[in-house]
């Protein structure tokens, strides 16, 4: 009697494991859907997408694809496909016509991509992307500290590349990894904070951009973006946010 009951339990556990496995198993990425199917799926995901022309299919990773497209109204949108649970599905559509950061790997800064799909009506010449960390200094708990400023630049010629995906430069990833390593302070409670003077990094890094327009072209009006866990925003910067050392 007891043996039989045990057998039933074991079979149930195995069955449950198989079901869970097949419901969450991603499998090997298959071929991308046809352009027409991609358009249908983009429009199903977001009714505002109204996609008409797919400009390209840019592979970010084996499982993630960036789809720059143009809508019937001429808006230049960005769509993202992910291979999940054995099929390609749309996970994000953005119609703001502003660049953003796509995170393909949360554990490594090198898994971040700046993506853009620029509308030629904007007469944009160039994107200047910046990795910034503010300078900081002072004394905390009797310990002097100084955090050097980080200001690293990468330029993208928008006339030549009206849309694209650019991974963070290796140098950005290198300095970001260094910062992350320091940020991993062991979990602490209130008592710890009273007795130990753990000094925590007071400033953090961010990525921003400065759009450069052709002579006489007007700047953009404002537009808003809605988020997602795999999306990070780019700050719009001004010339005066940047340091410009004179030699």
């Amino acid at each position: 009697m007891r043996g039989r009951r045990l057998l039933v339990v074991v079979i149930l556990i195995i069955a449950a494991a198989v079901i869970v496995f097949f419901r969450t198993y991603d499998g090997k990425p298959g071929p991308l859907p046809s352009v027409d199917d991609i358009i249908t799926e983009l429009n199903e995901y977001d009714s505002e997408a109204d996609a008409a022309v797919v400009l390209d299919q840019v592979k970010l990773t084996e499982q993630q694809v960036f789809i720059p497209f143009v809508s019937n109204q001429g808006i230049h949108g960005m769509g993202f496909l992910t291979w999940e649970k054995r099929k390609w599905s749309v996970v994000r559509v953005d119609m703001s016509e502003r660049p953003e950061v796509r995170v393909t790997d949360h554990s490594d800064p090198a898994g971040r991509y700046i993506v853009w799909n620029n509308n030629p009506l904007e007469k944009l010449q160039e994107f200047r992307f910046y990795l910034i960390r503010d300078r900081n200094a002072g004394m905390s708990s009797g310990i002097y500290y100084y955090v050097p400023r980080v200001q690293m630049e990468t330029l993208v010629n928008v006339t030549e590349h009206p849309y694209g995906a650019m991974p963070y430069p290796e140098e950005w990833a290198g300095i970001m990894r260094e910062d992350n390593k320091l940020g991993k302070v062991p979990a602490s409670n209130i008592m710890d904070k009273i007795f130990s003077h753990t000094y925590s990094q007071p400033s953090s890094m961010y990525v921003g951009y400065l759009p450069v327009y052709a002579n006489g072209a007007p700047g953009l009006g404002s537009s808003s973006k809605s988020g997602g866990e795999d999306t990070e925003y780019l700050m719009i910067m001004n010339e005066k946010d940047l340091e410009n050392p004179q030699k």
Binding site: Y199, E243, P245
Partner: protein, 240 residues
């Protein structure tokens, strides 16, 4: 799967913890042999583990932060659950579990001086021991052309002297104020990324180099270190 690929672990602490738990395990086995009614070992270990949980607080002692166990919470819970049944057989194991807090306290206190004799926190080469993967990155537009040469860096690193950091706010102001001598220039425009600390130290520092190539700033979790060298630590290109 998020593997902590850059986690450098502290070998001395790990060994001290292992030693402590081996002592506790020895005490448990010794006590079990002594008792007449021998309960199953997994239940005994469970009660011991329960006894380990306690209300504790941390104080700095001999330059370390140590955990002092105060109230045997786990032991009380075990007592409430077992008092009507087999508490007499398990009582001693719960107390061994509580005592484990103090066994670990002793091994931690022993580990401190051993760690100190193996690793010098004030020596920059502790943090920059492995330079095979190290790369120099210009982090600011004011950085001039400079190249990192492992040989040159290592030999100058051995000669650096700890320097005063009391002027950090002045450094900050010089870069920020329009009439500052370093206006919009970064004092430390280079970062050395990918260097690794001595194996087993569990330490990590971000390293920055000064504009003249002669200063080294290390940022660690607990504090900053600043060193100056007589000679440039990088191969500096001469500016026009």
């Amino acid at each position: 799967m998020q593997l902590d690929w850059h986690y450098s672990w502290n070998v001395v602490d790990a060994a001290a913890g292992l030693l402590g738990w081996l002592v506790v395990l020895g005490l448990v086995i010794f006590q079990r042999q002594k008792q007449e009614t021998r309960r199953p070992i997994w239940k005994i270990l469970l009660v011991t583990l329960a006894g380990f949980f306690s209300l504790s607080f941390k104080i700095p002692l001999f330059g370390q932060i140590v955990n002092i166990a105060l109230l045997p919470l786990g032991l009380w819970i075990a007592y409430l659950l077992l008092r009507k049944r087999s508490w007499t057989d398990y009582r001693k194991f719960a107390w061994i579990g509580f005592a484990a807090n103090y066994v670990l306290l002793v091994t931690t206190l022993l580990a401190g001086p051993i760690y100190g004799s193996l690793f010098d926190r004030n020596d920059p080469s502790t943090y920059l021991a492995h330079l095979e993967k190290a790369k120099l990155v210009a982090i600011h537009p004011s950085a001039g052309e400079a190249t990192f040469e492992k040989k040159l860096f290592s030999s100058t690193l051995a000669e650096v002297k700890a320097s005063d950091m009391a002027g950090t706010l002045d450094w900050y102001r010089e870069s920020l104020l329009e009439d500052g001598t370093q206006y919009q220039q970064e004092r430390f425009p280079y970062a050395l990324v990918g260097a690794e600390a001595r194996w087993g130290s569990g330490l990590h520092a971000s390293a920055y180099l000064e504009a003249d190539g002669k200063g080294l700033l290390l940022a660690t979790k607990d504090r900053y270190y600043y060193y100056r060298s007589e000679e440039p630590m990088l191969r500096m290109e001469v500016r026009e």
